[in-house]
Amino acid sequence: MSATAESLSLRRATSDFLPAAMLLIVLAASVVVLCHLAIVLWLAWTSGSPGDPDLAYTAANFAEVFSDARSYSVLIDTFAFAFVSLAVALGFGIPIAWIAERTDFPAKTALFTLMAIGLLIPGFAAAMGWLFLLHPRIGLINQLLAGLPGVPFNIASILGMGWVQGLNLAPLAFIMTAAVFRSMDPSLEEAAEVHGAGAWTVLRRVTVRLAWPGIMAASIYIFMTAFAAFDVPAIIGWGNRIFTFTTYLYLLLNPQDVLPRYGLAAALSTVALAIAALMAWWYGAMQQRSRQFAVVTGRAYRPKIIKLGRRAAGAWLLIATYLILSKVLPILLLIWSSVLPFFQLPSAQALATASFTHYATLPWELVLTSLWNTSILAALTPTVTLAVSLAFSWVVLRSKLPGRAAFDFIAFLPHAVPSIVFGVGALLLTLFVLQRALPLYGTIWILLLVFTIARISYGTRMTNSGLIQIHAELEESAHMSGATTWDALRRITAPLMAPTLLYAWLWICLLTFRELTLAVILSTADNITFPVVVWSLWLGGGLGQASALAMVMLLMMTPLIAAYWFFARRQGLVAT
């Protein structure tokens, strides 16, 4: 080794603090995640509530779960619901992501903005909208088709629920796969074309295969999101006695006849944990394979843009269909219901009763308090989550630490555990374990902590995808030149991952803005969030006032998103 190389190596060894810092962050986050899950596992073996002097250890919860035929029917319905949701989400999300990133589609910024706004529309509002479109008795479309034999559509079914949930999750599929398409090296596609492959063959045999790790990551993630979804099954399924995993858990956690059955709910949650473990293992195995798909190397690259030509009409049709079904119709129904004293199908008689009373009587003081809390969380949660996620991804994908794959498994777990159970775990942990040392209950910091943990799996899927695409040889070259890990991260990895990180930041920000399930469980007067106010109004005051507030929420966010995308576009971080 030359003297220069020795000197550089010595400099790295003495000033390279980042690997240790990242490992420390990962260890701390893992402990917090495991503590939450440990609470759930512990509860599964207990009867009574924490703090109850009569609390006893028992296996009765498992016996009850596994001997009840309903547990199995609920699980079967949940799987069916999640698969339908996945199919619908990918069916819309992937083609639109491909159009946005790999074609010369002219209105890309608008498309990104509209897809992002889609994440803001509360799931329960969309579900209510679809209920009024395709309900077998009062659905607008069904009433228009009343002369035909039988009911043409029934939203109150697994298929119907999956359709609505899938439309809600399509933006997620879009955001997750758009980053993959954008980071793709076009050289293999060009090579295929040079050898005479047609556009369809290139798409099928090269593009899709290159994107496969990202698509699989998105699929696993979306499947688990649908598995843990609450609002659509609660609005459409619950009323029609179709229970999925989360609504059934909610039933157990909020009994009217006894105190909450945390133990039984926790025992049922262990089934979800087992499924999560299986999915995480699958994801890990696929990720190992995906290393061969690293498509960004030391060479310069620029994704090839495909000219749509006449096919542009088809692209417009697909996007318009999706936007009308998933955005325009629910928003129109929100507007309609926000001006009516009670929800009625469109008619002259209903129009005569329209007014802005719901807007005028909104609880503005509470709205502003909740907006402030939500804004703080929407800014901090994605920032902290991505910092932690990047540390996880770096340790898992770049370090040589023995057993590092376990961290990826841990990072995935919060997503697999339904938010309701996770929220209850956090509630009990802060109330019974942490409260004296760290009084977080009732503050927004407990929400920040839980939101961050809950999003680590989201974040790490994105940072993993981004880091997989960047070959380690770039960082190795930097190290050879004496750069520390921090230097390499700051000057090479982070800039190359900037599009992915920005997508992820926005995505987590928007999800935080509309996060409901965790916030509902952990909210008090001091840390109430915007979606909790909307949800509470809907629960107790009818759809009208809740719709009015949801419209206010959309109006407040729209200019912010537009400004964000305008800025991002100027920075060259969004496809143009």
Binding site: R70, P341, L366, L431, T524, A525, L539
Partner: protein
């Protein structure tokens, strides 16, 4: 010395309140205990409340109660209202906070016997000697469990239905088993009303289970009592049984075609109670608010905001409604927490009823 100083301060504040309240309608009627309570409540300054937005008109109602209460007692107390989930969930959260040794997130628990009975054994509600504050208004029958709970308003349980779309005008619960209702009605996921019928001195378990099983084949789904808008839209044509008839009256005011049927064979008269948790942050303000709700002004506001008041108090509009129903031959079963505690078969059989109603046949 500190105690003397504290008492002097209380007396001074009470005197100031009495002077300040000279212009108020009822301040001069306050006895010493009530004045002392008002002074302590005024020092606390806030009451944290949470229930459904449709109950007592939620936030708008809280603003009206706040103004009227402060005028009546000459205080300056803020009602900090948060729209909340269902009563059982709030009760469970309060029990959890109490078990953990934490302060309660709200100062008053609102609930009826189904929500309160399961949590009585946790012993987290403060026994209050309510009568000493308003002896002319608060009677012995208004309090239960040694003052841990106090009746605030009356609710009449029956069935809520869409009067425009209903295939017939129902008069008994048996009417909902007729073929014309099949697939068009809802019940609650918590067997509201049916639990009471299962009591040995009402219908008894066998008759109730048989009815609920038959009803389960009729219903299209389940909904909460507070979701009466779903009946107004025609998604369901009836809710069998409901919690109280207030929803129908409230929606009628908005022009919705809702009506309540009081079943001749299963009419129930229940109460909503207030209770102050032992770990409340503002217990005195909570008690003062409770007492105001029971005052003449408070009861009037209760009817204005929630379409209900305590039926046996003078001038009660619910009292007139109850009398009218009785003239029609309706015999109400009075449902109280103490009565429900004497009927363990209600809670024992409730899970079975819930399972029948929430399982698709």
């Amino acid at each position: 010395m500190t105690i003397i100083r504290s008492r002097l301060a209380s007396l001074a504040l009470a005197a100031a309140l009495a002077i300040a309240g000279c212009g108020a309608t009822h301040a001069q009627e306050m006895n010493a205990a009530l004045k002392e309570l008002a002074a302590a409540a005024n020092k606390e300054g806030v009451v944290n409340l949470s229930w459904s937005q449709s109950t007592f008109a939620g936030i708008q109602g809280a603003a009206r109660f706040q103004a009227a209460m402060n005028k009546a007692f000459g205080t300056n107390i803020r009602l900090n209202f948060l729209p909340g989930p269902d009563m059982a969930r709030i009760a469970n959260q309060l029990v959890t906070e109490f078990s953990a040794g934490q302060k309660a997130h709200i100062d008053i628990l609102l609930g009826a016997s189904p929500q309160i009975t399961p949590i009585v054994k946790t012993n987290f509600l403060e026994p209050v000697e309510w009568r000493k504050y308003m002896p002319d208004r608060v009677t012995a029958e208004m309090t239960e469990l040694d003052g841990q709970i106090i009746r605030i308003v009356t609710g009449l349980s029956g069935a809520t239905y869409n009067s425009r779309l209903a295939p017939m005008k129902p008069t008994t619960l048996a009417d909902f088993l007729r073929p014309e209702w099949k697939g068009k009605i809802a019940s609650t996921p918590y067997a509201a009303g049916f639990d009471v019928l299962a009591a040995a001195d009402v219908w008894g378990k066998d008759k109730t289970v048989a009815y609920v099983q038959a009803l389960s084949q009729q219903i299209a789904g389940v909904m909460r009592c507070g979701e009466a808008e779903r009946i107004a839209t025609g998604e369901y044509l009836a809710l069998v049984m409901d919690c109280t008839g207030q929803d129908a009256l409230q929606w009628q005011e908005k022009g919705a075609p809702l009506a309540q049927m009081m079943p001749l064979d299963a009419a129930q008269q229940r109460y909503y109670y207030f209770a102050v948790p032992k770990n409340a942050q503002h217990p005195n303000a909570a008690k003062l608010y409770t007492l105001f709700t029971l005052s003449e002004e408070g009861q009037k506001l209760s009817y204005d905001t929630w379409k209900t008041d305590l039926h046996f108090l003078p001038g009660s509009r619910m009292g007139k409604m109850v009398d009218d129903y009785k003239k029609l031959g309706v015999k109400f079963k009075e449902v109280t927490v103490e009565w429900q505690l004497q009927h363990p078969e209600i809670n024992a059989g409730r899970s079975e009823l819930i399972k029948i109603l929430t399982t698709k046949g």
